[in-house]
Structure formats: structure tokens, C-alpha cells
Symmetry: C2
Subunit: 206 residues, 2 copies
DNA sequence: ACATGGATCTGAACGACGTCAAGATAATCT
DNA sequence: AGATTATCTTGACGTCGTTCAGATCCATGT
């Protein structure tokens, strides 16, 4: 009874895995990805360096849990952006801007989400199964009125995703600063780049 | 005179920095980026763990040298691709395909080139000053016959680069395997995605 | 010719890291 | 209650990046 009342405190610490993921996210936000060591996470959670191994088989598995939360958060942001835009024309661009802004606002988390030092050639299932990826696909499908073959739809989604991811990784390059100013802010810059991509031109023509 | 004749052997080892970069690239190719420790590089070069510090101020500086060579190699590949395509229409797509193929064929090197754990928000000058970036820009300018404003040209280049980089990072995801087969190979898949991007649609309309 | 000096390498060491094995402790089960 | 299982700590191992004091080698000036 040394701990304050918690909903369920099944064991010594009380949902340590939850606390570890939170600690990891805290470190990511405050000190960046370079400082994200397993020992640091344990320290931040007030626990010995070996404790995490009872909840995650190794560091990678902890990072995977963190990444998972990132995908959920991204999903939420995209849903908001999608419901906000009433104009079907700008909905795609809005989705793209929201995506890149998420990466800009959570750079460390975004890095962990795409970190492939654990699973080399597979993207998180959560992304493809029922997550952000599907939102993009659905938006494209919506906009084209479902007149597009499944293969073309898949290709267009991949294309859009690549463009967004590429831009997300480059947005913080300081070389673009003058261009951003010239266009009147970062969001305007994003929109301009997306317009130049002319995404879905092929679909529009068809 | 214990060493075989070398062109210039100014000091004990004879151009150790050169040997270190080579060793690093060898390790990258054979064991991947995870195995690329400074000590491993020194070991591979047959030298003590502290020796590299007389040629590079830290590990990051060695990686920068490796990345630099990567950019040079990429530049070369893009030049080849550009000179090969005679059809001005397909030249852009060809450039994109060449870019992604470079990333696919040198995944570890490509990762080092874009590794931002050292310099957070700045891309290598070599890329922008007179390298691959300019090749893309020039190709776009060529194709549009120089009728494009400098700002639009810059934006289109950024857009193209983002698309290429995004695709380069995703190309190896195994989730795309069935799609690749359906389209008749990886290159066909790449071309299809690039077509769906409809890059430069805006420029074409103008 | 030979000493001086600076560049280059070695060896040993430090702290931090990921991980594991053995023991202690606390919750659960019977 | 006693036995069992899950959880956490302690301590250790090997590896890593980095530093520092010395050893070694080369170029140079006298």
C-alpha cells in the first residue's frame, strides 16, 4: 500500500510496461532519439536496467510498442484532417499536409515509427491493416468516385504515401527556409510542393 | 620496406583515412549498417581502435566521408541514366527509376547518406551544390524548355526528390511483392508508381 | 649526420550500453 | 498455510565511443 491508488496494480510496480512506454516517449520528446537507451528508459521509470526484460524481449520490442502508439496517433490526426475538409478537391492535399505536419511535430517519434533496424523489410501491419494507409486509399477512392481499378488504387496510394513520407523527411532541412518564407510560411510551402507533385494526375485524366 | 610498393606512403600506414573509408564500405556491404562500429572499421583496416581519431574527429566524421562517396556514386548513376534515355518524355521517369534502383542496390550506403543522427536538419551540401539534386532540376528544366519560373522549378525539383526518396525507402517492403509480380517485375512497378505520381502535371499543363 | 619536432599509431583505461543469469521479493493459486 | 509463478534487483560480461600517455616513425633543419 505504499503506492497511491491505481485502477489495477497487478504486481510490484503496477503496469510497468505502460510506464516504460511512457518513459520512452518522454525521453524521445525531451532529449531526442539518440538518448533513447533501454537503461535510460528504465532509469526514467525508476526501475533497474534489467527490469524491462520481463515485459519486452529486447529493446526492439519496446521500440515497437512506442512506434505502435505513434501509428495510432498519426491515424487520429489523419482522421481529423479528413473530417475537417469539406471540399473534396483539397481533401487530398489536406491529408498530405496533416501527414507531414505530424512528422514535423513529432520528429523523434516519426523516426522510431520508420526505424528499420529491427525488421528490415516490413512495414508495421497496423499501418496497412486498418490504419493511416487505408485512410489515404479511401480518400483517393472517394475522390475518384470508385471508378478506379484496385491495382491503380493501390498504386496511387503508394505514390501518395511515398510523396508524403519523402516530404516528411525533408521538411526540416534548413536549405528550404528561404523558399518557405517566400511562399508565406511552412504550410504554404507544403501545399505548393504537393501541388507540384500533381498527385493523381493520371487518375484525374481518366 | 615491409610494405609492397604503393604510390605514396607518406606515413606509417600509408593513407589510412582512405583505407578506413574503404573498410567501412566493405563492412556496410557485407554486414549491414548495424555492424558499422568504429572499432570494427579499425579492426577491418588492421589498426588499433584509437587510430581513426588521427584522421577523423569522431565516428560521425568518418560516416560523413562514407556518405560523401555515396553521393558521388549516386551522381554518377544519374548521369548515366540521363544520357541513356533519348526520349525526353521518359527521361524523368528513367531518372526516378535509376535513383530508386541505386537505393535498392546499396541500401546500407543509402541509409548512411541520409542518416541525420549527426547533422539534424541539413542535407549534404554536395547534393545541392553541384550534385544529384541539380541533375534532377536540370532534367526538369530541360523537359519544360526553360519556360518555368525559378521558384516553380525549385518546387518541382523538391517534389520529385521527395517522391523518389519516399519510394526508395519503401521499395523493399515485402508487402509490395505481389503487386510487383502482377506488374511484371520491380522496374515495372517503379514506373507504374512514378506514373501515378503524375509528377510535373502542373508543369505540363502550363 | 644527426638531433629536433611533429605526425601517426598503440595500449590501457573510462563510462555507457544491451543483455543475461542468479537470487530476492511479492502476488497468486491450491 | 505452503507452493508456484511473476516480477524486480544485483552483479556481471562483452562491446561500444572516446580519451590520454607514451611509443614510433618520418621530414626537416642544421
Amino acid at each position: 500500500m505504499t503506492q497511491p491508488a491505481a485502477d489495477s496494480r497487478p504486481y510490484h510496480h503496477g503496469d510497468l510496461s505502460r510506464a516504460l512506454v511512457d518513459a520512452a516517449r518522454r525521453i524521445l520528446e525531451t532529449e531526442g532519439p539518440a538518448a533513447l537507451s533501454l537503461r535510460a528508459v528504465a532509469r526514467e521509470a525508476g526501475v533497474s536496467p534489467a527490469a524491462p526484460y520481463h515485459h519486452f524481449k529486447d529493446k526492439g520490442e519496446l521500440l515497437e510498442a512506442v512506434a505502435h502508439e505513434g501509428w495510432v496517433a498519426l491515424d487520429k490526426r489523419l482522421t481529423e484532417a479528413r473530417s475537417k475538409a469539406t471540399d473534396s478537391k483539397d481533401r487530398m492535399t489536406g491529408l498530405g499536409v496533416a501527414y507531414v505536419c505530424f512528422a514535423r511535430d513529432n520528429p523523434a517519434l516519426y523516426r522510431v515509427m520508420y526505424d528499420r533496424s529491427r525488421d528490415k523489410d516490413s512495414l508495421p501491419e497496423q499501418m496497412k491493416e486498418e490504419g493511416a494507409y487505408c485512410q489515404v486509399r479511401d480518400t483517393i477512392d472517394e475522390r475518384t468516385g470508385g471508378t478506379v481499378s484496385p491495382i491503380d488504387l493501390e498504386l496511387a496510394t503508394i505514390a501518395a504515401w511515398c510523396a508524403g513520407h519523402g516530404l516528411a523527411e525533408m521538411i526540416s532541412f534548413k536549405q528550404f527556409a528561404p523558399l518557405k518564407e517566400m511562399l508565406g510560411g511552412e504550410e504554404a510551402f507544403l501545399r505548393a510542393v504537393f501541388e507540384h507533385l500533381g498527385m493523381f494526375a493520371k487518375l484525374d485524366q481518366a
